[in-house]
Amino acid sequence: MNQIALSEPLLDTPLLEMRGISKSFPGVKALNVVNIALYAGKVTALIGENGAGKSTLVKILTGIYQSDEGEIHVDGKPVAFNNAQDAIDFGVTAIHQETVLFDELSVAENIFLGHSPKTRLGFVNWKAVNARALALLHSLESNIDPRTRLKNLSIAQRHLVAIARALSVDARIVIMDEPTAALSRKEVDDLFQIVKRLKAQGKAILFISHKFDEVYEIADNFAVFRDGKAVGSGVIAGTGQDDIVRLMVGRSIEHAFPKVDIPLGETVLAIENYTHPTEFRDITFALRKGEIFGIYGLVGAGRSEICQSLFGVTRPSGGKLKLNGKEILIRSPGEAIKAGIVYVPEERGRHGAVLQLPIYQNISLPSLTRTSRSGFLRAAEEFALARKYAERFDLRAAAFSVPVGTLSGGNQQKVVIGKWLATQPKILILDEPTKGIDIGSKAAVHAFISELAAEGLSIIMVSSELPEILGMSDRVLVMREGLSAGIYERNHLSAETLVRAATGNA
């Protein structure tokens, strides 16, 4: 439907083809009439921003989700994947970003867990398990002993075991979902050797990656997804990186973002060479009054981790934090709230609300030190606080004393945001403020963020959504693998620069 053919069409019959696949979740159309074809002996790279619909596609392919519309064809014949077993039966297997393996079991047990060869009496046939594991590992040119416990292996070796496990079910179609995310360059090279061997064995491979150099190194074909649509596909050879970047981000951006230009005030928060033992290193930036400071990067680049350390959830191992020019140490979220810093987490369901507690108690939770007197709560004050912020957000509920768990998702979000604003913060950290929200509500959230900045709040906004970052931020810090990849001023912002900086594609 929305296909833009960039290069000559692909002619053979695909091993697996998905036609017109759509999948909706309440409020979100995750996939919108998507086509994709996988060919035997070819690697197809699936490229797209966070939220483009890649993971949903993988879940449909592996039978975890069922599509609302569309067909899946294997060898040109329509098939139905009603559950994960169906997908396995048709030879589809997936290697995930974080593979679930068992440390205390042997390599062979890990490979055959759930489908071990059995003896005639129904017991596990250990001889066969070990022999077949050995054969599989040999086919991957590895000499790991199948009897070793998994915990003794390196990360790369574990990855190999995960691949062996995926192949142990006679796979013909192998999905690799960002398989290189946790690997070093050397390990990536080893992985690519394996991919090439799988290609040579005639398997069709769907390779999902954010990294362009890898895509160009290993893939034959590509498909680009954006906002749940397949916006382009073709053969890698002869397609420029610029074309792919344009497909990924290509959309009109400026409209609909009610970013109001506010004269920026003095510096409120400054961090210098902020460093965490594992997640990020040498991050330096200053935040001014009324500023919206965007942090962009791929998932896992260390964006949320910085915010969590600013909020006292984790502690940095080095660097300075200055609040209004004074160097301070934030050791717990309680101290951060007192200092006027609040963090609205990404997973608002898990980190945000206590579902069993009533609305007013959720709203007052971080402000209890203010609304209570010598350890005693004052219900009237709590209700007043709840009323104030519920009105501001047009929160709809039968009563403030009903548990938050009984509210709709949208209203729960309002409670969570209300409870943070009720602390009267100076600095508001928003982690993916519009993730999982439908387009209409997004605009309302953006207008609201602008309003807060106009009131003099300083805002740090972590987002994976380019239009949001481009449309809302005064400045943007781009992060890549825990390091700063530059801070960009509003008038120097473009989708291409940010994507290049974030993916390391110079």
């Binding site: 979740f25 309440p26 409020g27 979100v28 995750a30 966070n50 939220g51 619909g53 993971s55 949903t56 879940k59 998932v299 909020f311 959830v313 717990s332 979220p333 309680g334 101290e335 951060a336 709230i337 007192k338 963090y343 987490p345 990404e346 997973e347 369901g349 898990r350 980190h351 945000g352 609300a353 206590v354 579902l355 069993q356 507690l357 009533p358 108690q361 939770l365 971080p366 209890l368 030190t369 209570s372 350890g375 005693f376 709560l377 219900a379 004393s401 009903v402 548990p403 768990g405 009984t406 998702g409 409870k419 993730k435 999982g436 994976s464």
Partner: protein
């Protein structure tokens, strides 16, 4: 809707208890007479107080298996103290009991808070240790009625408006715990820490410290019960209240306190304890053997758990919906 369910549930317990009382009094006239009801309540007082301590801990997603051992050790300590220093005022003895109990509770709490050891493991260990300490303290000897003073033994038995002081103590503790749970910062922190620990941390609540205080409260109430127990049964020995920690957990479960934390009320715990008290007092009256009593109590606990599980499942839908929403979010990632 959930709140209505709770109300419904507590009302349900009240109704069940009333039906039981009516049924028993049909078999044995006089069972439901005020004097006998007061007697049942008085008899259940210690369980009520201990169940409230247990509730506080369970609400924070923990469990305190050492309460009965705490009663044994503290009971032995105050019994010996009274025997050795008959002149010591009772108020001081009770203060000491509260203090020892609180310290034993704090030890549990520190392990859970500072070392992050699961509470079931910590208190399973201290359960043995505290009882062992009671043995070491007494050398296995008993403190018998004749060694203790009249004031020590008789005070909880004094009648006031037809109810012994023991029963009044339970009423006062219920009132205090109601205030603590509903009107103080600590109470709110306890519900939040058990209901959603991550959200509590993000709201600036120190979940570990909150758990610690829950254990201190539980220990302190166990200390109080230690005195009440020893004076009521007029004897202190190593094995008093053996296994009673399970009764406190049972009272909580029957009273609708979710073992997953964050859900439950003072009224629930009290009603759960009363339910067990009524059964325990009624069965001998209608000639049912103590062994059948145990089986009946056990069946009731399982029935309550099934009821809870059904309720959790209903709640589970909301969680699932929530998970669906967050999965969507993950999908978008």
């Amino acid at each position: 809707m959930l709140k209505q369910l709770f109300k419904y549930r507590e009302m349900l317990l009240v109704v069940i208890i009333a039906v039981l009382l009516a049924a028993f009094s049909a078999r044995s006239p006089g069972f439901a007479k005020p004097a006998n009801l007061a007697n049942i309540f008085n008899d259940t007082s210690i369980l009520i107080i201990l169940a409230l301590g247990q509730m506080t801990v369970i609400l924070t997603k923990s469990i305190d298996l050492s309460v009965a051992a705490n009663v044994a050790f503290t009971g032995m300590a105050v019994g010996m103290l009274n025997a050795a220093y008959p002149g010591m005022p009772l108020a001081l003895i009770i203060l000491i009991a509260l203090g020892i109990g609180a310290v034993l509770g704090a030890i549990n709490g520190l392990f859970v808070w500072k070392l992050g050891i699961p509470s079931i493991v910590v208190t399973l260990g201290t359960l043995t240790i505290y009882r062992g300490m009671a043995f070491v303290l007494s050398g296995g000897a008993w403190v018998n009625a004749h060694q203790m003073t009249e004031t020590f033994l008789q005070t909880p038995r004094q009648l006031f408006l037809g109810l012994p002081i023991l029963g009044w103590t339970a009423i006062v503790i219920v009132a205090i715990m109601y205030l603590v749970m509903s009107r103080t910062f600590l109470g709110r922190a306890i519900y939040a820490s058990g209901g959603n620990p991550t959200a509590a941390v993000y709201a600036g609540i120190d979940v570990g410290r909150t758990r610690f205080f829950a254990f201190v409260i539980s220990g302190m109430l166990a200390g109080l019960c230690a005195y009440l127990w020893v004076s009521r049964y007029a004897v202190a020995y190593v094995d008093i209240a053996a296994g009673f920690e399970l009764d406190t957990v049972a009272a909580c479960v029957i009273g609708g306190i979710s073992t997953l934390g964050g859900i439950g009320s003072v009224a629930g715990a009290v009603l759960g304890a009363l339910f067990l008290g009524v059964i325990k007092n009624a069965l001998p009256v209608i000639d049912i053997s103590p062994f059948a009593q145990m089986a009946i109590s056990g069946s009731v606990i399982i029935a309550a758990v099934i009821f809870n599980a059904r309720q959790e499942r209903r709640r589970g839908r909301i969680i699932l919906r929530d998970r669906g929403a967050s999965e969507q979010i993950e999908v978008a990632a």
